[in-house]
Point group: C2
Chain length 209, copies 2
């Protein structure tokens, strides 16, 4: 859980409500995505909508704060994985964690997929840090000979979304942890040596336009 409130000069109940709102928003966007109503959040937090707008000014601002917290947690995870002794373990663990984070919060998944709107400077900074982490983890694993030659760090980034919507398909139920099997299969597919050549251009860093 991230730093919930750096705001000092507020009455205690106000600070408490601010906390509750952030917690409620986390849970709300986790299950329903970013398209949550202010009323639903307020109800879940046990406050009135007025309090929500008083504390955050805009529903947007509240959502931004919560999403930024999630990004910060991802950055922490990346640091932990980069400290792993084994290069492959570090990469595999981060991919699993990133995939899990995407699954744990539909709202987060919606934000990491956004490519149209310009992100806030804060988010852009975190995004760059996460890209950097994947680059390092990937190159470390590649140097150690664990990666198939034709896979890029961008492929790996993309693959970390692959378990997002894999709970059911045509009458089959993956169960609560079925997504981990999918990620495991992906990681095995990424590991050296490759079998089927990856065709088409590799994914690229997105350019605005």
């Amino acid at each position: 859980m991230p730093d919930l409130d750096p705001v000092p000069d507020v009455r205690a109940d106000a600070r408490h409500n601010r906390r509750q709102l952030i917690i409620a928003t986390r849970e709300a966007i986790a299950s329903r995505g970013l398209d949550v109503s202010a009323l639903d959040i307020a109800k879940a937090a046990g406050v009135g909508v007025g309090t929500l707008y008083r504390r955050f000014g805009t529903k947007e601002a509240l959502l931004d704060a919560v999403v930024l917290g999630l990004y910060d947690e991802l950055c922490d995870t990346a640091r932990v994985c980069m400290d792993r002794a084994d290069a492959w373990e570090g990469l595999a663990e981060f991919v699993m964690e990133l995939a899990g984070a995407h699954r744990d919060s539909r709202g987060l998944a919606e934000v990491t997929a956004a490519c149209d709107r310009p992100p806030s400077p804060e988010l852009a900074e975190r995004t760059a840090a996460l890209q950097d982490a994947v680059i390092r983890l990937t190159e470390r694993a590649r140097t150690a000979g664990h990666l198939r030659a034709d896979v890029t760090w961008q492929d790996i980034m993309i693959c970390s979304r692959a378990a997002l919507d894999t709970d059911h398909c045509l009458g089959v139920d993956a169960g609560p942890d079925g997504w981990r099997r999918v990620v495991t299969i992906l990681l095995d597919g990424i590991h050296a040596p490759g079998r089927t050549p990856l065709e088409g251009p590799a994914p690229q860093v997105h350019r605005e336009g």
Copy 2:
């Protein structure tokens, strides 16, 4: 494109409008999913909403007809793949096609993921046929020694959804065919021999209740 209209005793313009509505609905649910408004469909088809309700009675009925058509196309594809001489090729091709179909129509993806509402008898029949196809393709590939031991046909069914939402992630853009790289990686991960053991229970056929 499926059989567009078995209805005979209708005026020619009515039949034409029916066709246009089905085509427009296909395109609408492909990009926006099942949550399309009747007005949007009617506009895209070049008719009034009245015509939509006159031809199909309900928006639901129209959607059902279109989705059933998509399922029938999948069944055709399955038959083609089962005729492939090479067991692995047949399985790999069907997984790629099924993944592509999911990507081509967000509406179809929503339906194959549905597990709460009971499907129509027609849909249930097609679902069973598709399950059967995957079972046969899988067992054929397994017998030929192409599959890792711990992967089940249910895993493969689930994996065919993995490329659904993999266009962008944290500033990386997969490009129009990037999803194929993901599926290729998955197929390599499914191929014998396995590397990392698949943990947890395998996905199961869904039971109501």
